[in-house]
Amino acid sequence: MRLPVNRSLFIPFIVAGDPSADLTVDLALALQDAGADVLELGVPYSDPLADGPTIQRAAARALAGQMTLPKAIQLVADMRKKGVKIPIIIFTYYNPVLQLGEESFFALAQENGADGVLIPDLPFEESGPLLELSERFGLPLISLVAPTSKQRIEQIASAAQGFLYCVSSLGVTGVRETLPESLGHFLGEVKRHSRVPVVVGFGISTPEQVAMLKDACDGVVVGSALVQKIEQLLERLQTSEEKNAAIAEFASYARSLAAPLREPCSSR
């Protein structure tokens, strides 16, 4: 996966099929225009254990529209056709991968132009067979570390591929008003062990939070805040005369979140 260097990464997350396959492609393009460096494409799942209500609702909308894991992966090819050039990570729970077949999953992801995969309910200990496939297909399996990882950080970080995803605080995905004070220390610890960029996600929802985190990590992941924005724009996104304006509003919101990362060198 080719990541920009000397630049804080802005990594948005959206759910494939929320609110429709076509709109997901449009929203991906809008995010690229807004300065996204990597896109996390979420695959909707009936029982998303690591997700809060916002992403649960997005998954329910996408599933109601018959989105599936194979269809979500095929969306990557559609995105490529429409001009999305940034790396795309397939974010999916493990069970749909098992049903598709682990090898078929990697083959399909590669064939459709994805750049990596992230499976939030597959911890290091269970990831053996997938790591092997990830290597064979050249698609990094992105690892997560959490505030509870402690002595596991070194082991996970040293094996990390692509980038390393730090979970900001205890809990599931979702907008948080405050982030823990210990976050800076945790990120420092992770950075000490990691050879790949260290990004932080879970709960990051305002430009202020992004600005605060900018110097402590190599990038941020924003999910629920963007998904919430999509939820607010649902009706307009699905009305032909308002669609473009809604997409532009979404892009401008995304740009506002990325903006603090683009400001020249801040002092700490």
Partner: protein, 405 residues
Amino acid sequence: MMEHVPNEHGRFGDFGGKFVPETLMLPLEEIETELDKALADESFRQEYIRILQHYSGRPTPLTFAPNLTRQLGGAKIYLKREDLNHTGAHKINNAIGQALLAKRMGKKKLIAETGAGQHGVAAATVAAHFGMECIVFMGEEDMKRQELNVFRMKLLGAEVVPVLSGNRTLKDATNEAIRYWVAHCDDHFYMIGSVVGPHPYPKMVREFQRVIGDEAKEQFLAGEGTLPDVIVACVGGGSNAIGMFYPFLQDDVRLVGVEAAGKGIDTPHHAATIAKGTKGVIHGAMTYLLQDEYGQIIEPYSISAGLDYPGVGPEHAYLASIGRVRYESVTDEEAVAAFQLLAQTEGIIPAIESAHAVAKAVELARQMTPDETVLICLSGRGDKDVQMMMHHLGVKEGEDVASAR
């Protein structure tokens, strides 16, 4: 071979494991370490047994069912009376064990999920007993169906949180309990109600339920001088069944697990996970589950809220895969008939879950000879189901039950 399950990775053959978000790996490891220490600690064991005896009323009796046996004209039928436990079901065995472990770990806040409310009541009960806080997640739909149990939990001092996601039943309550645990794992203990979930839960719950089978074995040997020919237990997640079966795994005893066939396993309305499910991951464990071709989990159905679960304990999946336990299924109607039969022949009203085991045992006993024996794990009592049964049988107030149907 079977003595070594689960292995150090929490695997029962291909099943089990820990498929959870990274945040939970440390809490799970802490529980595993402390559980192993506790199980090796004689004083922990004695305290557990003491509370089972003096608080829950163990050992529960082994009851011969003479009238039912005579009526069927086949094998002799025995009942292991988990219905006589405090709070009315086997769930308390596990709740006491886990509360003791929580106490040992210095955690004073319990999280539980519940379907019908039996585990929720057991968790709320032990929380009161040990002076702990308790938060119970329950699907909004189940809260409507089991209003009385919701009130029981509140009477016991627990907080009951309605779950609004998914179909608002047990699966969703379990999701929400796990999500809450992810956010509060620093000071909360998650008390799971069945032999499901990530390692070490299936093993832990088995260890706290095997008292059923250990007692039954001793009682049966003392009374009959031999082991039963067949043992039958109902399986939702499967904790009463594992508790009963585990001490008999190495013996020459036929073990039969009974899943809920709902309106029939050839309809979409059942909870027969082993009969109709496929391999996958649910609530942190590799097991059999009801799912569509894309790996989305399908909502199960059963008249019994306690069997209404789309997965099954990984150890059951393993025991099915190696053929050690046979898993069969019983429909709503068969369970209802068995519920009435046991009430009328023996004066024992079983939980509708346990009535599934009774139905299968009746069928098997009929085909056996009077010198053979069948042991049923009567996992709970039916007080909680009386209202539902009244509704189901269409009995109106003042009407004679015997005239219904």
